[in-house]
């Protein structure tokens, strides 16, 4: 391909430095702070307020996927008896724990405690139990009941009570106390960061869109792993300025934007650019996605614990299919989307289950066609490019026949 299909962001170097610092400081610069491994939906503001260093195996394993090392680490976990049907984040993480010599950065530094929140899936509970057994460290499971319709007060009380228990658990495990003023301050930074991230996403309503899905996926890392940290807020303000400039100058993320698409589900990390370039070849840009929107929900102002309980219980993966249909339909309207693509992700059951029902409902609601692509977030063994290429071509032909 003669023409470069991606316009690299100027902030890319800053992002890389930020993430390198994140991983290096967790290993070398903890200054006596205990280390927690947490799930992507864990209430990290509390941990930060208690001076606990945090690492996210999900982010680390996505990185393994992008570096084409996840499948071999999955095989390590499979050799230890873990099923190939288990989430590839879990398999990659366990594989890197069992065989750190063959993992990026020699695996993650050993945790002192583990915190899993089941708002994203049930797998994390068993995955973290396996880690707790392997490392002999304490585990806290935060249970956020599924939101079938409206978030109930009883659910909120239940989650708040567990957050109080989580604080006592961390105090017992580490001797660190919660500083409530610090918690409020961190929740505020977290909200600011979330707001800026939401605004960056919203800038993609412009035509042409200043960002494509891989830009969003790569740039979401700090909102996940550094939420509540000033460094993340600073980075997103720089990114926002650059994206605003692209919009002002009408600079698109791809050379020629002919079709505007919505992406649903976790990224295909092992073929990130290669896969999305199959769309770029047809002038199709993903202007919005549901995945990185999962971290654009703020903690409500006021008392921190009820706000945190509400924010973490109502993330979209913990809500009904109806909610997801309505959310996707509204994104399709707001971003002027012509078609949507759903990644039927072998790893992520809660995200992928019900996808065909969501697809049908969104198509009926919006009149916009949807395509399902089968693959996996991390395990490249599931990726078959030729059938995928055919589906993409047929889908684009379908879009073009409508106009």
């Amino acid at each position: 391909m003669a023409e470069k299909r991606y316009k690299k962001l100027k902030t890319a170097a800053e992002l890389q430095q930020l993430m390198q610092w994140h991983y290096a400081s967790a290993r070398y610069l903890r200054l006596g702070r205990p280390l927690a491994w947490v799930t992507s939906g864990a209430p990290v503001e509390i941990l930060r307020a208690m001076q606990i260093a945090v690492l996210y195996p999900e982010n680390y394993t996505a990185l393994c996927g992008a570096r084409h090392l996840a499948s071999s680490l999955c095989q390590v976990a499979e050799a230890h008896g873990y099923s190939q049907d288990l989430c590839s984040y879990a398999r990659t993480d366990l594989g890197s724990a069992f065989d750190p010599a063959h993992a990026p950065m020699q695996g993650l530094p050993k945790p002192d405690l583990l915190i899993a929140c089941n708002n994203i899936c049930g797998t994390v509970v068993k995955w973290y139990e396996a880690l707790a057994g392997y490392y002999h460290v304490p585990l806290f499971v935060l249970d956020t009941p599924f939101v079938h319709d409206q978030l109930q007060d009883s659910t909120l009380y239940y989650v708040v009570a567990q957050l109080e228990e989580l604080i006592r658990f961390i105090e017992r495990a580490t001797g660190h106390r919660l500083d409530k003023a610090r918690l409020s301050k961190i929740a505020h930074v977290s909200n600011e960061t979330t707001r800026v991230w939401g605004e960056i996403r919203a800038l993609c309503k412009a035509r042409p869109s200043p960002l494509n899905a891989p830009d969003l996926f790569v740039n979401m890392a700090p909102i996940v792993v550094l939420r509540g940290a000033n460094s993340a807020l600073r980075f997103y303000r720089h990114l926002q300025a650059e994206v605003e400039q692209r919009v002002r100058l009408k600079v698109g993320a791809i050379p020629e934007e002919k079709h505007r698409l919505l992406w649903d589900n976790i990224a295909i990390w092992h073929h990130l650019y290669r896969f999305y370039n199959l769309f770029v070849d047809h002038g199709a840009c993903f202007v919005v996605d549901t995945y990185t929107g999962g971290w654009a929900h703020a903690v409500p102002e006021g008392e921190p614990l009820p706000g945190i309980a509400q924010a973490y219980t109502s993330i979209f993966l913990n809500q009904s299919l109806q909610y997801r249909v309505e959310w996707m339909a509204s994104l399709i309207r707001e971003y002027g989307v012509d078609g949507f693509v759903m990644h039927c992700n072998r790893s992520c059951k809660p995200y992928s289950l019900g996808q065909y029902a969501v697809r049908r409902a969104v198509m009926e609601r919006t009149g916009v066609p949807g395509l399902v692509i089968e693959s996996d977030q991390c395990d490249a063994r599931t990726y078959a490019e030729e059938p995928i290429r055919t589906r993409i071509q047929a889908f684009i032909e379908t879009l073009e026949a409508r106009t």
Partner: protein, 269 residues
């Protein structure tokens, strides 16, 4: 579909080539959408050589070597084929071809060598939605080939054998590998060959109808692709769906016909 008089190639000609995993197909049209010639051959290794020979054959049969105006290629070998003006997906081409042979069509079931697809089309023949099998031989021509071999029956006679069955066995697995071992265990326990054959045909039909459920199965339903020549499978699909199915007289070249129509009319019509 009728083949027009072969001397009518004086005007411009339009070629559609469909390079599939098991067979290559070519259809040559005149400007009035009449079929000047058509041909089918085994794909062989990669399909490109077979496709080049087939193109030479259809052009020579119609004496149209100098009249070729435009070529559209489709099928798995499409991106490697050098002598086309445009490549299009099988989905669009099968829909276009099926709409030409049956304008009432709303659903196309195309069962090819390595994939099967169900396509919903609107009243103008445009693709509205589609579903394809993914990374799995169940519900494809390959499945039938493997099973025919397991039963020691030529694949061409496999469907007819299934039609003789009074008591089809139950094949629960749709995985080609597991279904083969299930078939073998039925044979080992003394089941009649035609009953095993019928069970296998029902398994593949149910798999295809499962795929169809993703896009909905609206009448008229046209079955295209080489597997449509298998009467046993069409009977199983009819029985399990309860719908009347239309099988074109030359189902194998529907995709190539669609490609030729795109060559003739251009654009995405």
């Amino acid at each position: 579909m009728t083949v027009a008089s072969r001397s009518s190639a004086a005007g411009r000609c339009y070629l559609g080539v469909d390079i599939g995993s098991l067979a290559v197909k070519a259809v040559l049209l005149d400007a009035e959408e009449h079929i000047l010639s058509r041909a089918v051959a085994p794909a062989g290794y990669g399909g490109q050589e077979a496709a080049a020979r087939l193109v030479a054959q259809v052009l020579s049969e119609a004496h149209a070597e100098k009249a070729l105006a435009r070529t559209v290629v489709t099928g798995y070998g499409r991106s490697l084929f050098r002598n086309a003006d445009e490549e299009m997906s099988e989905i669009s081409c099968h829909a276009r071809g099926a709409f030409r042979v049956c304008p009432e069509v709303r659903t196309v079931i195309d069962i090819g060598g390595q994939d099967s697809k169900v396509i919903r089309v609107d009243a103008r023949g445009r693709v509205m939605d589609f579903a394809m099998n993914d990374k799995c031989a169940a519900g494809t021509g390959r499945f039938l080939e493997v099973m025919a071999a397991a039963l020691g029956v030529p694949v061409a006679d496999f469907g007819a054998l299934a039609l003789q069955s009074q008591h089809p066995v139950a094949i629960s697995s749709t995985c080609t590998v597991f279904a083969e071992s299930e078939a073998i265990s039925h044979m080992a326990s003394g089941a009649e060959r035609q009953d095993v054959a019928a069970g296998l045909h029902r398994a593949i039909a149910s798999r295809i109808l499962g795929l169809a459920a993703h896009v909905g199965l609206l009448a008229e339903v046209v079955v295209s692709g080489g597997v449509a020549l298998n009467a046993g499978l069409v009977a199983a699909l009819t029985e399990l769906s309860g719908l009347h199915l239309t099988v074109p007289s030359d189902p194998q070249v529907v995709g190539a016909l669609g490609a030729a129509l795109f060559a003739l009319h251009g654009g995405r019509r």
